[in-house]
């Protein structure tokens, strides 16, 4: 398994676990006009710290490959994954906005919907990277 694929597995697992924890931790019943920024800040700080740890461990255990830039096949896989995850993000944001527009309610749920779209899109990016790196580009 190449360094890029190991990295995608690690980061994908991180996004899945932290994303699920965020969904379980969130109080979805709260539907007011305040953006609860500190609740999401905990999530982002945890993701940043754990990302540094995962990338650090991967870099130490794969010194040779970690220093090299992505090769031509990996660059295409990463680019395609970014393209498709961008579509996932777009659909998520549009759905969140439609739900907010149709059902009304507080801004907090719109904000949470957009954050959830970001998390799903980021997870999708790593999943697509693994798919394209394994199946061919």
């Amino acid at each position: 398994m190449s360094f890029r694929e190991k990295s995608a597995w690690g980061m994908g697992a991180l996004m899945l676990v932290t994303g699920l924890l965020w969904v379980l931790h969130m109080d979805w019943a709260v539907n007011d006009d305040h953006v609860h920024i500190w609740e999401i800040a905990h999530f982002f700080i945890a993701v940043i710290i754990l990302s540094i740890i995962i990338q650090g461990v991967l870099a130490v255990t794969n010194r040779g490959e970690a220093r090299k830039p992505a090769d031509e096949r990996e660059r295409v896989a990463i680019w395609r994954a970014g393209h498709w995850s961008g579509s996932v993000l777009g659909v998520g944001v549009i759905l969140s906005t439609l739900v907010y527009g149709l059902h009304g309610g507080g801004v907090s749920n719109l904000f949470n919907g957009v954050v959830a779209s970001l998390i799903v899109a980021q997870f999708a990016q790593y999943a697509f990277q693994i798919f394209f790196l394994r199946r061919g580009v």
Partner: protein, 71 residues
């Protein structure tokens, strides 16, 4: 997506003819990962023109001796 490109190659055969050159050795020589050499040999990835020339130079043959068009 997933469909193999209609380009055939003799990379594995040429590697074996060159004292059983390893995939890693070829990858290091042309500047790609071993996984990319594997993908090329399995027909899952068509290399760039630059990499195709690099591969043919490693084996001392022309590009058309390494790669072909299926059919």
């Amino acid at each position: 997506m997933g469909k193999a490109p209609p380009i055939t190659n003799r990379v594995k055969e040429l590697r074996e003819e060159h004292d059983g050159m390893s995939q890693q050795a070829l990858a290091d020589t042309i500047g790609v990962t071993r996984q990319t050499v594997i993908a090329i040999e399995q027909g899952k990835y068509s290399p760039s023109l630059e990499s195709a020339f690099r591969i043919s130079r490693v084996f001392g043959v022309g590009v058309e001796d390494v790669f072909g068009w299926e059919g």
